[in-house]
């Protein structure tokens, strides 16, 4: 009696804390649950699926535990069955080898499908926008190879158009993450990898480095602004006409360790991204070469 009331108060406490947590963060701040594009949405779907499928076993396990502990307590007068030699049951064991196998099978199948899908453009029939992303100590540099403009610590993208981010680092490895738009990928020195994202709602999205790069890492925040195509083009024109040039010297200064606010540039040294990748070891990476040739032909 005394015991179970203690259990109850613990449960009540937990429930209270849980409720507090949920209300504390139930708005749009739970960014992973607020997808603003097809990639994040596809990932969220899998999150719901995995939550559901694991809940199917985990919740019964916890309930069963509670029931068994209450039922088979060693106290005088407990008349529940006591079978100290009950230690084998083929049927039971078959069941619990089988259930996880089935769940893992389903999740594995979906994973296979989605992993391949996410490596492609979300809308292959639309021409993508290409943005080259370079993580520096401790800032984000964005190049628009087709628009020939560059920005620091923010990027604008058109809505409803797939964006191919080509990622590299000049400095320690970081990761590019915009939770509302979809999952992250590493930016690695000497490598160029591709990440597809797309926004279908206009808005301003929080982005942050995903892999620790030293004392300035915490400040490596950036914005991704999604706006309709026409607004996007207007912004490009505005940067191209109004912003200063990025000279080679300017670039070298950006590479120096330090934090910065947002900047825009109306031009940048030709081929600087490709050159950086190659200098840092990209020439040994077969796929880098292919990727960059691909990029060059577009620009």
């Amino acid at each position: 009696m005394h015991r179970s009331s203690r259990w109850k108060s613990i449960t009540a406490l937990m429930a209270g804390v849980g409720a507090a947590l949920l209300t504390a963060g139930c708005g749009e701040e739970i960014r992973v649950f607020q997808p603003a594009g097809p990639v994040a949405r596809s990932e969220l779907q899998l999150i719901w699926l995995q939550m559901g499928l694991t809940a199917v076993v985990i919740i019964p396990v916890i309930l069963l535990l509670a029931w068994i502990v209450i039922r088979y307590r060693n106290k005088p007068g407990n008349r529940a069955v006591y079978q100290p030699d009950f230690a084998e049951s083929r049927t039971l064991e078959f069941i619990w080898w089988a259930i996880p196998i089935v769940i893992v099978g389903i999740l594995g199948g979906v994973t296979l499908h989605k992993t391949y899908a996410l490596a492609q453009s979300p809308q292959p029939d639309k021409t993508p926008l290409k943005i080259e992303v370079m993580s520096l100590n401790w800032k984000w540099l964005f190049f628009y190879p087709d628009q020939k403009i560059a920005t620091v610590n923010y990027a604008e993208i058109p809505t409803d158009r797939p964006v191919q981010f080509v990622l590299t680092a000049n400095g320690p490895m970081n990761a590019f993450w915009v939770p509302n738009l979809g999952g992250m990928q590493y930016t690695m020195p000497g490598m160029a990898t591709s990440l597809w994202l797309q926004a279908d709602q206009a808005g301003e999205y929080y982005g942050h480095g995903g892999n620790f790069t030293g004392p300035g890492f915490t400040q490596m925040q950036f914005r991704v602004v999604a706006k309709p195509e026409s607004d996007f083009e207007a912004w490009v024109r505005q940067v191209a006409n109004g912003a200063p040039d990025m000279s080679r010297g300017e670039y070298d200064k950006l590479v120096q360790p330090g934090t910065l606010g947002e900047l825009s540039f109306s031009s940048y040294p030709d081929g600087i991204f490709e050159q950086t990748v190659m200098d840092e070891g990209g020439k040994y990476m077969e796929h880098d070469r292919k990727m960059l040739e691909n990029m060059m032909s577009h620009s």
Binding site: A119, Q120, S121, P128, Q164, M191, T193, S194, M285, E286, H287, K290, M291, N294
Partner: protein, 103 residues
């Protein structure tokens, strides 16, 4: 079980055979490569197979793995270790070549 190797105490036959085999395998691999006997891929396959045979020669003729006391748990573990050797090497190549499909 009759020991395979020490059947004839008068002369270490098995050691001599093992030695001969290891020299032969080495020379085949060496001259196949320096003489460009085959195209790249088959050549690679041949020398890897020869290396595997060499390892077996060392294990069987010199380390006497056939005649240790049973149960031979050490050989099981050594075998699994060789398995992971291959896994770690091959998967490192697989992972590090980034076979990202390009658009």
């Amino acid at each position: 079980m009759t020991p395979r190797v020490h059947a004839n105490p008068a002369f270490p036959w098995s050691h001599v055979i093992g030695f001969a085999l290891s020299i032969v395998f080495t020379l085949i691999a060496f001259f196949a490569v320096t003489g460009h006997a085959l195209a790249h891929r088959p050549l690679l396959a041949v020398i890897l197979v020869l290396a595997a045979l060499q390892i077996l020669v060392q294990l069987i003729f010199f380390m006497h793995v056939g005649q240790d006391q049973k149960p031979r748990y050490h050989l099981w573990l050594f075998g699994v270790a060789m398995f992971f050797f291959v896994v770690f090497v091959v998967s490192s190549i697989w992972i590090m070549t980034f076979n990202t499909p390009m658009s």
